[in-house]
């Protein structure tokens, strides 16, 4: 009598099926495109902030629209802001930046910056507009004698702002572009301070800027932040130079020179 036929073994068939699915997945995975980074401005129009083209308020033409910031600033700072704005935009004497900072106007300006920095996103934007106005109204170019203290003071204001607002700004339709611009201006200012000596370099501002920008952008690349992601998208040259570590701030300086050619440290009279 013949023995009864053994039942077919299903395990190999199951393994073949799993392998086939994995092969298909392996081929599909090879075609996966890198994820696209979407700028915050791509959100629906209804959700956009009330302030249109905020970048205009950071440009040399800001004086034409600066009063639009007054109603956006928190009521507690509104009065001081209006006063500081009017005085700053009326500046025509072109003082050295430290002289301005040590004046009564400058002290009021610094107090206001601190208050606005700790306020709402509109307050933060208003404070950034004031900083860039101060950068245009005051002299901070180191000159032949390498007086970098003015540039470093300006760098401190921008650095404090960036430390508070860079990361939350990355996905904010109002602050995204301004925060990137602030990073470029900061890099340019510190690069100017670094290159000030005729022979050699002034290392302290360079190291300070590098430490802050590393923290903000997330280097090495495995720790990329949202701000770093946006900087990579909009200003890849700036981030590439930052990662190269050789003249790391030159990318920011180049991008800033394109964005704001008037920001040279000499008063734009």
């Amino acid at each position: 009598m013949n023995p009864a036929p053994s039942p077919p073994n299903r395990a190999p068939i199951l393994l073949f099926a799993v392998a086939t699915a994995l092969f298909a997945a392996a081929l599909f995975a090879r075609g996966l495109a890198p994820k696209k980074v979407v700028l915050p401005r791509d959100i629906p129009v209804a959700e956009r902030p009330k302030l249109r083209d905020p970048m205009q308020l950071l440009s040399p033409a800001a004086r034409l629209r600066a009063q639009e910031l007054d109603p956006l600033v928190s009521p507690a700072q509104a009065t001081t802001f209006t006063a500081v704005r009017k005085s700053l935009f009326a500046y025509a004497t072109c003082p050295e930046l430290l002289d301005f900072a040590n004046s009564a106007d400058g002290q009021r300006f610094e107090h206001l910056l601190e208050d606005l920095r700790n306020g709402t996103r509109e307050d933060a934007f208003a404070s950034l507009a004031l900083i860039l106005r101060a950068a245009r109204a005051c002299e901070w170019k180191p000159g032949l004698r390498a007086h970098t203290e003015h540039a470093e003071k300006l760098g401190t204001w921008l650095g404090d702002w960036l430390r508070t607002w860079a990361e939350p700004s990355a996905k904010d339709p109002l602050l995204s572009e301004p925060a990137l611009a602030a990073g470029l201006v900061y890099g340019k200012i510190m690069h100017t301070a670094w290159k000030a000596p005729i022979v050699g370099h002034n290392q302290a501002p360079y190291d300070k800027a590098l430490a802050l920008l590393d923290e903000l952008t997330g280097t090495p690349p495995s720790h990329r932040t949202a701000y770093g992601e946006m900087l990579q998208l909009r200003y890849p040259r700036a981030l590439t130079q930052l990662l190269l570590r050789t003249d790391a701030l030159s990318g920011c300086a180049e991008e800033c020179a394109t964005l704001y050619p008037d920001l040279t440290g000499e008063c734009a009279r």
Binding site: L27, A29, R30
Partner: protein
């Protein structure tokens, strides 16, 4: 532990190869998003794997059942994944690596044992690929940058462009790097695991397919009556089946080939026996010493002489 059949092992090895291929096809960018490594390397890897498959088919025959076909397809894909895993992601450097592979194959075509050399070459290519990837992940778009003596130590930034010389430049686009940059640590980890899975799977697959063919031949021989099957297996031991060209034959051709080999072996056996019988005169030529002792020992274990058997 349950014993697994060769078909099960082919399935398991295929799963390992496929999982390895999946990991080798992925890369992690700086934002920790996954993207594919593209089809360029895979296409080149597939072409090279096809060449290897043709070379193998000339000696190893063709698969004759579902398990065999599945195993060979898995082996082809696995080899394509493995080769694409060691090639640079694209551009002139990838073609340089392909050229190196082809030169290796051409130079060592006649040699039978080139496995170790091929492994060393693959390891070198993998190292090269990892180095290119590392440089790219650090945003250095060249193989090496050499500082120019003296010039590089001068503190004048105006000399920056001539302070170092770049060798072997490449672009992120030709290397198919994601725009956000590559996370070298995670990507390398993925590739290392994928490479290991693929290599282990391929080795297992090779052995499993051989076992599967042996099972098929064994099944055919055991359609004979048991004593006869035992005799055939003594004449043609299992360890020689592959070398005798029994792998990859269709059932009818396999039966004919076994028949030929049995006939051949039996003929040789008979020839040996008759030669042995004719050798009794040797005892008169025993010259003594160690050669003589061995000769005598051989004669002592020979067949009984005719006169002895008659008694």
């Amino acid at each position: 532990m349950t014993e697994r059949s060769a078909a099960w092992m082919v399935g398991f090895a295929s799963v390992l190869v496929a999982a390895g291929g999946l990991l080798l096809g992925l890369q992690v960018d700086a934002n920790h998003d996954l993207s594919g490594t593209g089809f360029v390397q895979l296409s080149i890897g597939a072409l090279l794997a096809l060449l290897a498959l043709f070379a193998r088919a000339r000696t190893g025959g063709f698969p004759r059942d579902t398990t065999g076909v599945f195993g060979v397809v898995s082996a082809f894909l696995g080899l394509a994944f493995l080769l694409s895993g060691v090639l640079a992601p694209g551009g002139p450097w990838m073609f340089f690596e392909v050229f190196a592979l082809l030169v290796f194959v051409a130079v060592r075509r006649g040699e039978t044992k080139r496995g170790a050399g091929a492994l060393v070459l693959l390891a070198l290519l993998l190292l090269f690929r990892l180095w290119v990837t590392y440089q790219g992940s650090e945003r250095r778009w060249e193989l090496v940058s050499i500082d120019v003596p003296i010039l590089s130590s001068l503190p004048f930034s105006v000399l920056d462009p001539v302070k170092s010389v770049s060798l072997g430049s490449f672009t992120p686009r030709e290397m198919n790097f994601p725009p956000a940059g590559l996370d070298f640590a995670l990507t390398t980890a993925l590739w290392a695991v994928g490479f290991a899975l693929c290599a282990a799977g391929l080795a297992l697959l090779e052995r499993s397919l051989s076992e599967h063919e042996d099972d098929r031949i064994h099944a055919l021989i055991h359609t004979l009556p048991t004593p006869l099957a035992g005799l055939v297996e003594r004449l043609l031991p299992e360890s020689e089946w592959r070398a005798l060209g029994l792998h990859g034959l269709a059932e009818r051709a396999l039966a004919k080939r076994i028949e030929e080999w049995v006939r051949d072996r039996m003929a040789k056996q008979r020839a040996l026996d008759s030669a042995w019988r004719a050798s009794s005169a040797l005892e008169f030529t025993n010259s003594g010493g160690i050669a003589g002792g061995i000769q005598q020992a051989l004669l002592d274990h020979g067949e009984p002489r005719k006169d002895e058997s008659d008694r």
